[in-house]
Point group: C2
Chain length 506, copies 2
């Protein structure tokens, strides 16, 4: 008899769950009862700037509270926000707000479940292993970056071994690193070990060398012992919330761990997955990476959050919100506009409904969630609940893109997620060379570039080179690629990507 | 009614205890029952090299198990070992061994209570705050070092802001930093905040500037929320063990947090405190820093651990072990030699007892603790238990040295802890200047150098410039000083100190 409680342990004010163990237990006991929860994807309009959220987490929390008040067994899965970015003041936390909050927001915001810190230590230990390999003549070039959870502007560019090697390096934020991606995508500690072993540590005489060739994997998995366990907490209303892993959405894969969602689906009828920043980042990555290539569930419905102002303020950017809603609908996903009203905006509800109607949207769900929490939404969920009850459309395009030409895959993303046709996907000088280098590196370790999954690396606030340009002039420029062989991902930098996601503190 | 359990929360396979809250509660309710436990200091011979422990933690665990088997309510307080050093393979863990082990040694060794990681993040956030202060013209020189829990040889010397400022920096291991000292020495979160505010961030036009002048202290204390709580675990025999904080003994203060010991003394009749490396480091620091200056308890007894070989192998170093035992006895502390026998050494017991007798020691306590655990010791504890029952000697020299001339304080340590008289305490070129600079810096922030507590920074494996020299030729050379104003400590580097405690990984 599989007992979920055997896999749960209190962990301060939270609990942590051995999701690997629980899911293995379910797999080994196919007769055991379990749910087959449906996923609601909560995503958002493209934000006007990276530091201004639209309220995805607040919405997610209000939405489970409201669904549960309606008798639906709903839970939410959130990403762990970057403690460093919160501590640096670059961004508020990501634990909701006001009446739509978690019970212990301070713990989520301050990283106290410890997984960011463990991933930071483990990734930095990989760098130390690589240095040792250099000393031993197994490597001459290190390719894995150091990470820091706390941002520091001067770490963007550093030289290590000053006075001797004077080696140029850069330090990136922990949520951007390959090891974070591996923890998100893996379904067992063994898979984590295999993926870490497959990571390219660096090169010797131009040839790639993998970590598996020289490290003690148990030291890495030892550090990750607790980090692989999703945290469990609750909303102020007592609704269940799982929190696990926090890769950035713009420069990484932007989704919570796959096991946290899989576990939640085995436990609840409806699972709300938050994937940010905007739909062009989080939703694109949930659909094209998690669902298409890593076996995660195709959403039964989507909610696209915006604020009354974001949606309409800048005439040149007004196209983005309808683009997101229509795109998700076109994929067969019932998509609900959600407008997170701020103080003083209640009076705009009628006008917002009219605009939504003019645009052909489903009726928008609206509320001042900070002030009223889930209660504001309870009466507006008939359509969403009905959509969840419908069978999945037969024509959902979830076929893997592996094997497809890399440029075709990139153009497919540009067209479907940013609205830019392949004819306006531009290669910057050096891109072709970068792609060729990546192909050689992958070939040398026995991996087909075409079998890797594309990760768009871009600014969170833009979808194209210039979102304010007229539709037929919008372009997407490709800058360079970087394979993350262990994670199975090919990072593709677009022109608008930030090369150093290491903000100043404020 | 004060209920200890109200301050305890499960934390994975451990518990964590809100020691600040519990001790405040006891203070506010003087009629509440509490124990007044006596402290046994477990220390060791000076190790032959830093990476080879004598078995202090193993001994500590065997000793509480044996005392409890004898009906004594004993507990132990251990330091958190450096996960980075363990992961790097530079050192085994510090969770005992064999039958004298903790129930979950892997958790202690892998840092899974998270306090090292939190202290690393908080100290690095201080550096980021300092950088911001440089941008804003509040500072022109940063004096706080970055820290890393994971060692990396190339971080010993780095240049940050490469290509622009090219500022020289070094990165030190987390257990060496001032913030770790502050967490060890503080008795409330308010005290931590005050001490962080008093830390010198850097200088502007040569004048020191404190963190309190420009940072949001709540961001630092927010990160430390859980890190200030001692962890609770048990030995394989079920004896209680508290684990909290891990400053290195050779380059820092080498003791567990003061609140963890104070709390354990309120809960148990006998509290074994482990303070390493050797008596010249850990015991010196417990006595002269914790007890003399920070209100910690003077030990009722001491145990000095050695191995059958360490004690006698090198004729030129044979003086060290008797020196430690005799020194502690001379302070009025009943001191018991403890010999941790390794496999094949049982037959040496008789000879070891004879040597101990020839040296005028109390009868040594001996056993193969890895193989036999506490059971090996049960019959040998009459003397120790009797000593614990005796009243404290009236002449214990626990008077504060604050106000004493700094050179006199240093000479006092050299004489009492290393056996070198003031006439052979040598100042290296530059030392006087370093001391004068420190004095100026302290004066400028309103602190008397004479009111700071001295921390000897030295190699763990030596007490003097050359321990193999004849007694009348042994010297101690002073290299430089570094004030840690927030912690109230004046670090004094001896010639044998490692300037870069950042080992290679092995």
């Amino acid at each position: 008899m599989t007992d979920f409680e055997d896999y749960v342990r209190p962990y301060g004010l939270f609990s942590k769950i051995d999701a690997f163990g629980y899911l293995k237990d379910l797999q080994e006991h196919p007769d055991q009862p379990r749910k087959e929860g449906k996923v609601i994807l909560v995503t958002a309009d493209t934000p006007l700037k990276a530091s201004r959220g639209e309220g995805k987490t607040t919405t997610t929390i209000a939405l489970i509270d409201a669904l549960r008040a309606r008798g639906v067994d709903a839970a939410a899965v959130l990403r762990q926000p970057s403690m460093g970015i919160t501590a640096a003041g670059s961004k508020g936390g990501a634990s909701g707000g006001g009446k739509a909050s978690l019970t212990h927001p301070e713990l989520v915001d301050w990283g106290l479940c410890g997984e960011m810190a463990a991933i930071e230590s483990a990734q930095n230990l990989l760098v130390s292993f690589a240095e040792k390999a250099v000393d031993e003549g197994r490597l001459d070039t290190v390719l894995v970056p150091r990470v820091s959870e706390v941002p520091s502007r001067s770490l963007r560019q550093i030289a290590v071994d000053r006075g001797k090697g004077n080696l140029s390096e850069r330090t990136v934020l922990t949520p951007t690193c390959e090891l974070m991606q591996i923890v998100v995508l893996s379904r067992s500690m063994e898979e984590i070990g295999q993926r870490v072993a497959a990571m390219v540590a660096g090169t010797l005489d131009g040839k790639p060398v993998r970590f598996g060739d020289f490290i003690d994997l148990w030291r890495i998995t030892g550090i990750l012992t607790d980090a692989v366990k999703p945290a469990y907490t609750e909303t102020l209303q007592g609704s269940p919330v799982y929190v696990h892993c926090g890769p950035f959405a713009n420069v990484s894969i932007g989704i919570p761990s796959l096991v946290s969602v899989q576990m939640a689906c085995a436990r609840h009828d409806v699972v709300i997955v938050e994937a940010g920043y905007g739909a062009d980042a989080g939703a694109q990555k949930w659909l094209d990476i998690a669902a298409r290539e890593y076996g995660a569930q195709w959403p039964a419905a989507a909610v696209v959050v915006t604020r009354a102002t974001t949606w309409r303020d800048d005439p040149k950017l007004q196209w983005r919100y309808p683009f997101h809603v229509n795109r998700l609908e076109s994929l067969g996903i019932p998509t609900f506009p959600m407008i997170n009203l701020w103080e003083g905006e209640d009076g705009q509800a009628g006008q917002l409904r009219q605009t939504a109607s003019d645009l052909g949207f489903r009726s928008p769900i609206m509320g001042n969630l900070f002030r009223d929490g889930g209660q504001a939404l309870e009466d507006q969920l008939d359509g969403l609940i009905e959509a969840l009850g419908a069978p999945a459309p037969a024509d959902a395009d979830t076929v893997s893109h592996h094997g497809m030409d890399v440029m075709d895959q990139i153009c497919w993303i540009a067209r479907s997620a940013y609205g830019v046709p392949g004819s306006r996907v531009v290669e910057k000088d050096g891109f072709a060379q970068s792609l060729e280098q990546a192909r050689q590196l992958c070939t040398q370790v026995g991996v087909n570039l075409e079998d890797m999954t594309i990760v768009a690396v871009k600014s969170p606030a833009t979808m194209t080179d210039d979102d304010t340009a007229p539709e037929d002039q919008r372009t997407v420029t490709l800058k360079k690629v970087e394979p993350h062989v262990g994670a199975g991902l090919l990072q593709v930098n677009l022109t608008t990507s930030l090369t150093t996601p290491m903000p100043k503190i404020v």
